[in-house]
Amino acid sequence: MLGLLTHKFRQLTHNSAVLPETPEKINAEYDIVIIGGGGHGLACAHYLAKDFFAENIAVFEKGYLGGGNTARNTAIIRANYITPEGVAFYRESMKLWRSLASELGINLMYSVRGHLTLAHSDGALRTMRWRAEVNKQCGVDSEVIDRETLADICPELSLSSHTRHPIHGALWHPDGATARHDSVAWGYARAAAKRGVEIHQQTEVTSITPLDDGRFQITTPRGTCIAKKVVQAVAGYSCRVAEMVGLWLPLRIVPLQALVSVPVKPYLDPIIVSGSLHLYIWQTQRGEFVIGGATDPYPIASTRSTHEFKTHVIDNILELFPQLHTLKAMRQWAGITDVTPDFAPLMGKTSLPNYYIDSGWGTWGFKATPISGKTMAETVATDKTHPLISSFGLDRFTDFALLGERGAAAVGQ
């Protein structure tokens, strides 16, 4: 009897590790269809169901959950951007991250490490002072530190002045963190499914036809349906999907590569970024060094890895950490990113009523997953742009209102 009760209790409290199954068929009609089962699409589905009690929602994912950039990213979370709009947005995301594991009932391995952006010139230090001031004004912990303080925070870093790019100081963001990326997709998927959201994997949207009555006809190889509202959250495929409804997005679709080393003993605590050297590095709880850099300079429809990328980042990493010269690279990969000209996101309503976009996430969108889900959910549910994303609309490119986030987003992720 006691055994049976314990079993029942476990069933009620245990969060199953099993992911939601794809329903057998696609319904004829949905209130909301979300295209893209990455972190952003799934978070939007979750908050629509949780915060707005929206029903009859389907997520269509052409591959598997998180198989796009969500599970390819290097998992850096921070809020020390340079524009007040960007800082306020990512600050709210950091607040959500802190309680996300308990909200979703999944271990996200959220780990606060501190984030250091190195300055290799006086010009870079000036930009960092500007960034630190904007950050403080917006309530984000961020300050410029000198070489002595840097040596205290990261004694492993080479501060030699006999290198090609000696370090002058750094921007220190103590709240900088990392999290396990695929758990984020899984956590949102399970939480959304518990609230009735249908999640269809292996379901590529191949065409979207706007109908005269304001609804949309959506075609997939598994069937066709009608949707009252559509959200596209497809990152590197944004231009292609937007083209289906005649929307043109000013995005550059370029690969971003990263690599990971074999695991070694815990050695490096903070996340280290150098914009001038085009690289960043941090060590996972498993001991692997995660290493990344800037995007490839031109579009290519492939997630291939290149030798050039590897040699470039490794050369520069060894300038910062010469003692890592015997470390072996284990794996290298790439994702296809959607970069805006001003390195700020592209989200919200569009010129097409009931069609919403969540894109322009380039190399920096993982950290935005919770807040983008929340703000997009409100925008979709109420058809009113959430104030936190009002500057991120498509109209900024025709109204000369670009945001200028490049200085804080180009490499630091």
């Binding site: 231009c239 043109w248 290519i300």
Partner: protein
Amino acid sequence: MRHVNCELNGLRDAGEFAYRGITTDADPTDSLESLSPAEQAKNIWTWSGYDGIHDDSCEEWWFHNPSGKWSKNERARETE
């Protein structure tokens, strides 16, 4: 090593070039003075990424930094 064709210097290392969108986007060789402010903005900022492999052949703008020369090139976008 990848090579890109420069109309002046022939095949050169891809690292010497800047990519600037497809040729059906705004023409970067247009003189900005002759354009309206909206056209100028489109020319500078809003050229598209045009992702993936498309059936139609597609030429791209490439700027050769050392010689300052614009070239139009076709590329196998699936591989290089």
